[in-house]
Symmetry: C2
């Protein structure tokens, strides 16, 4: 019987085609979307198994015992394409980073797509290519996935939920509850780039210098930091809610306060100017390629040196210290010598920043 | 300082409240939603760790070597509540089943929620409670999660992406490419219940007997099947595209044909009647609590007996056999002695069935 008689379908029109409801219905056109787009770009031996899930080698630590780490993140960023990245690479970076800040080596990613009917296949292809590039760069393959399609007006282009699994060697304990008074607070680079890039694009603003998202996978930087043997208490990536929300969370979990020094916190001048224009505080703005490290004070210099030696930590800076505070406040000594409380995000929100 | 001064917020109004954009913005009201709703119902020692991911005991197999299995599924079912279930329990069952049909023991679930602004918190609470109940019943905890909120009109109430991780003992190899001519094709029960329950609810139809979704976790049934030691080639849950799509996929992957016997395929009379009314073929309709087993013919009776002894396999039936066929067709001998090809889903689609 000829291919035509078996319902042969033409190749996907990746230039002018659009997502339709059949792409999510379990039939031949879903299979086609998966093979001609997802498998083409993301393909690897695990994704290629073609079963309901991926069978993966059990993680090993060269004989050492370890634990699993699992993290998941829904990505609904708007716009889908922004200076410095897109939802595709962001969805890889975000979850790789969430696993890596636990101290774990990220091993595998799963990706789930909710597509809106009518979404251009060309845009989807760009997004999947960007994911593939990010996954290859981070060294973490997408091993399994799912695709669903919702009617026009019931979604917003593409949402991507990624889930990461990694392995954490026994003996390494990082966590938000482990900060102690006296610990050094370190960040890996400038604050606010991602959120301001998104907001500027959304508001159609342009500034003297381009503002690009910092979205990047941090597992390499973190491996270099762990290799120093410094006594790390906690690593976190300050995404939604920025530095302020993340430090407030840690302060609450550890039952401590944090004192920051404004002058020590790197913020790019153009980001600072844009924040002023947009009415934002860079300490509350999301980052996607930066981390906070809380570290025993004696090891802070060694850790900083290792970070600055890595391409993603060149601007690493010691920005403050953990203090005793029954109120668990995060405070800031300003450039003018005053003090203010850096509370949780209060009024303003930045929805759909990641 | 008083709680009020630190921005104390009143408890969530789970009766009349609605999701708003602050619930996804990384600030205090997101923390509140997580603690008062998600953690309250789904809470366990892993979810309670409060870091960017969950640290989990490495899976053990009592000294045997094993591999990881990972699977992810986006759930966009519409309506969110349907006879026999809702998106909450469905999102647990769907992913538990995808891991279990690989032969693996499901261990951990991650859950990502995309919420639409304005969604009633009372409905969200019902959904999360249903997830919690399903997870407890299946014995698979939700260990990590994420919540995002999109603006009104950019989503559709709730989408839930669940990702499961399980452990597969070395030596157990199941897969769609392992079917061989002569193998028995077995299903665990009646076909079409889930899809017809959804479509009837959507079309506001009522029939003489209630039609309920069969949504349920199959890991217990599968464990009982594996315990028989029967030579299983492949297990699959025939969800989107139903029995027809799943068997066509297996036929293609294994390079074989399948011959089914219509009379042997259990379809409830009310489902059959509803299908006729709705213009559906029950072989193409999604199931959420049934499985297909391909098994060496010599072991089929033993396997069937074990399935029928389990509450979820009482109506298990041998419905056909794998045959040599270079075209990889799935065929059906009809009740009248004729034959027809059961091709991939052609025209009709059932969007958002799961």
């Amino acid at each position: 019987m000829s291919e035509a008689k078996r319902g042969y379908v033409r190749p996907l029109d990746l230039k002018h085609g659009r997502v339709d409801l059949t792409h999510g219905s379990g039939g031949r056109s879903m299979v086609q979307l998966i093979s001609e787009l997802f498998a083409k770009h993301l393909g690897n031996e695990y994704l290629g198994q073609g079963n309901d899930g991926a069978v993966l080698p059990a993680p090993t630590l060269e004989g050492r015992a370890g634990r699993l780490v699992m993290s998941t993140d829904c990505h609904v960023v708007s716009p889908l394409f922004f200076p410095g990245g897109d939802i595709g690479c962001l969805s890889v970076h975000g979850t790789v980073n969430d696993v890596a800040v636990m101290g774990a080596t990220p091993l595998y990613l799963a990706a789930g797509f909710v597509l809106e009917e009518g979404f251009p296949l060309a845009d989807l292809a760009r997004i999947v290519e960007s994911m593939a590039h990010a996954a290859a760069e981070a060294g973490v393959p997408v091993v399994t996935g799912d695709t669903k399609v919702v009617e026009r007006g019931k979604g917003d282009g593409v949402f991507i939920t990624t889930t990461g699994v990694g392995i954490l060697p026994d003996g390494l304990e990082l966590g938000g509850a482990r900060a102690r008074p006296g610990d050094a607070v370190i960040i890996s680079g400038s604050m606010g780039d991602h959120g301001v890039a998104i907001m500027s694009k959304r508001e159609n603003l342009s500034f003297d210098a381009p503002i690009e998202s910092d979205t990047v996978a941090l597992n390499g930087l973190i491996a270099a930091m762990l290799a120093t043997g410094a006594d790390l208490r906690c690593l976190r990536d300050p995404t939604r809610g920025g530095l302020a929300a993340t430090l407030n969370e840690i302060a609450g979990q550890s039952g401590v306060g944090v004192m920051l020094h404004e002058k020590a916190i790197p913020v790019k001048p153009v980001v600072s100017a844009a924040c002023e224009f947009l009415g934002l505080d860079p300490l509350y703005v999301a980052n996607e390629g930066k981390l906070i490290a809380i570290c025993a004070p004696a090891d802070a210099d060694r850790l900083l040196a290792a970070m600055r030696a890595h391409p993603l930590g060149r601007e690493a800076s010691r920005i403050g210290e953990v203090i005793v505070d029954d109120h668990h406040f995060v405070q800031l000594t300003t450039a003018f010598g005053g003090k203010r409380i850096v509370d949780w995000l209060a009024g303003d929100q930045l929805p759909r920043i990641c």
